[in-house]
Amino acid sequence: MTSSIIFDRLSFSYQNTPVPALQDICGEMARGSFTMVMGHSGAGKSTLCCAINGLVPCFLRGDYAGMVTVEGMEAGKNSVPDMARTVGIVLQDFEAQLFSTNVELEMAFGLENQCLPRTAMEERISNYLRVVGLEELLRRDTATLSGGQKQRLAIGSVLAMETPVLVMDEPTTDIDPEGRLHILSLIRRLRTRERTLVVTDLDAEAAVHADQIWLLKDGRLAAKGSPTEILTDSSLIESCGIRPLGTIALFQAMNWPGQPLTVEDAATEIENHRLYCPHRQERQAITALASGKVILETRNLSYQYPSGAINALDGIDLTIHEGDFVAMLGQNGSGKTTLAKHFNGLLKPTAGNMLVRGRAVKDYRRHELASEVGYVFQNPDHQIFAPTVREEVAFGPRVLGMDSKTREDNIAEALDATGLSGFEDRNPFLLNRGERQRVAVASILAVKPAVIILDEPTTGLDYAHQRDTMEMLKRLNQLGHTIIVITHAMWIAEAYARRSILMKEGRILLDGPTSTVFSDEAMLAAASLAPSDLIRLRNRLGLAAITLTGMVKELRGVHIEFPFSNQR
């Protein structure tokens, strides 16, 4: 096979940063192959992508050494618009890429730059909208699309340019599980054509179908190989900030033979080797989760956006107890965020009541509420403004009028809890995304609210940072804070939340202990969600435990009690 992209000792460091973003990258990607580039955040994945079409070093400047050749063209020597004839790239922030009035014109933009006549454009647009499954939405305003649809449009608009190389930088981040599945299946379909695909992702489950995986670590190519070679090495990928595959993790923990990459393979292995005899899961009745005092309560709460015609929330009855750890799950637009914004009074119900500690939210003063219920927004950059971490974190306590002694104590405590002690005088804008996220949490924490709501706290973070963030929330929960997490990352709900609330179209579909909610795959599918591979395997085996260690214990226990399952 001929190579399509050749990296020859590529090194790059951004202006004014001492640490190189890429170091000595050597390797080839064959024409028509699908390469998955993985690594922790800051490992250099995006830089690598941008080096393929020359954004590095033409647009993002710095010290550049080595060479990248794409289909015979040297990136960096040619301008980015010239490279665009060969390389199509879907950048990480897909929201910012869409700027046309409607879907059709968005698709047309690249083609206009290629000077295509109108009839040819029409043909390409209808072809590629069908490929990405948006043919019905030709005239839709791009702002009204769901996250998954936006991402597919971003991909479609680049596909339409029919470049021999297609690069996608984290195309599945920031979208709901259903949108994610759509995009992963789209990538698999794209791969069958004469096209070189380069995709980056943080999730190992996305890499199973790649031809080869490049593992980046601190700007260096740590490993390169087939999915079977790379993904089965749990300690290697975990050291690169990637969550190991659930199936592999379970098989290794159990010392079972075989290295299944998918749930289906795992089930086959278990059956073939008679490792365990699956039994039907007992359907647990969903019990009330009464424990502690009620802190948040909604009574028949409905909400309609001023511009909207339908209820964004429709008759929500919900009680949340002090000290609970709740995950709110659902597709984009299912009403999770809208509901959570009622908890701290950012939105006022159109009908029904929102009570905090039994008192209606409208009877609270703004600062009283801010010290009861804290809300960490999805994007930390929407709130960071101060020149130092200390001042940033001090903002809440200061505007709430705490005296300087309490203020200092609270700030120190908040920084300690978020692992930011020692960062006091650092500039928050120069921290990495995971650290900025922690600053945002600390700035809420310093007010000491009883309830902390976090909207997508792990978006854009790699596994190591995700785990750090969640472990921090777990500690805060143990200290008595009620934690409510809105998330698309299923494993987070599975591993950390005691209670899961499933939302769909402004209503609560299912609400109960996480272990029970995640047993009900039919209900999850109805909410356009799917559990992680580990939990799917757990459900197939009919286990009760929901964490890896719990499952291993349960499986071992079973093994001793019913030895026939393995010896027959």
């Binding site: 409607n102 950012l346 709130q383």
Partner: protein, 266 residues
Amino acid sequence: MIMNLTLYNDKSTWLHQLDPRTKIGGVLLIFVICLCFNHPLFIALILTGVLAIFTTAKSIKVLWKLRFLLVLLFAFSVVLWPFFIKGKTILFQWHGLEVSRESLLYGLAMGLRLMTFVSAGLLLLATTKNEEITNGLIRLGIPYPVAFALATAIRLAPTFADAGATIVQAQVSRGLDLDSKNVFSRFKRFAPLSIPIFISAMRYTNFLAMALESKGFQPDAPRTSYYEPQITGRDWLVLGFLTLTLAVCLYLRLSLHWGIIISGRL
């Protein structure tokens, strides 16, 4: 966030189908027609005309979205103008400040004129896609980079407003008091809002530039256009009608001296 701040109203009325050049020219003509008179009654008539066009374009809700802005402009003008204009019929005097019947009417006229200007501009934005405006400007001889920058600015305003709304919510959640009466605390709350808005705008535009270049966009290179507007008979009819109206208005003002409250002023 379900907050739609885009002004374009996707319908298919006669106005939407006009060539963007016609609409840009038409709006300019309406501007000049407005300048013909300074009598509130005459300007009110022109405003009624613009509102009638809004109704036929099924876009009155765009105006409704910006009602606060319109009312604000009107109120400011009505309140402030009378103090700066001298008239014959003095209504009251106070420490050298005087308000006359003429100046009051003039203020009213200016308020209405401002509303007409804004409404006419909104008429263009409500019925013309961003790409059409770019296209129209280019065909009118404006250089591509300028046209593109202008259209992008129009496009980005709602995006930044949206980011702004999120930022306000994020800071209010941290206890930022936006209802405070104190002038100094108002100053203080400027930083928590403006810095994140500024930074997110910078990030966004930088990113957008990368995306544009990656799709082969070069401001000075030739490119085709997916949307190719055609000037039809209807366009000439609209332009002809507006030009005729302007001619009539000029005649009324200059020869018959109609529609004047204070002469010698626009």
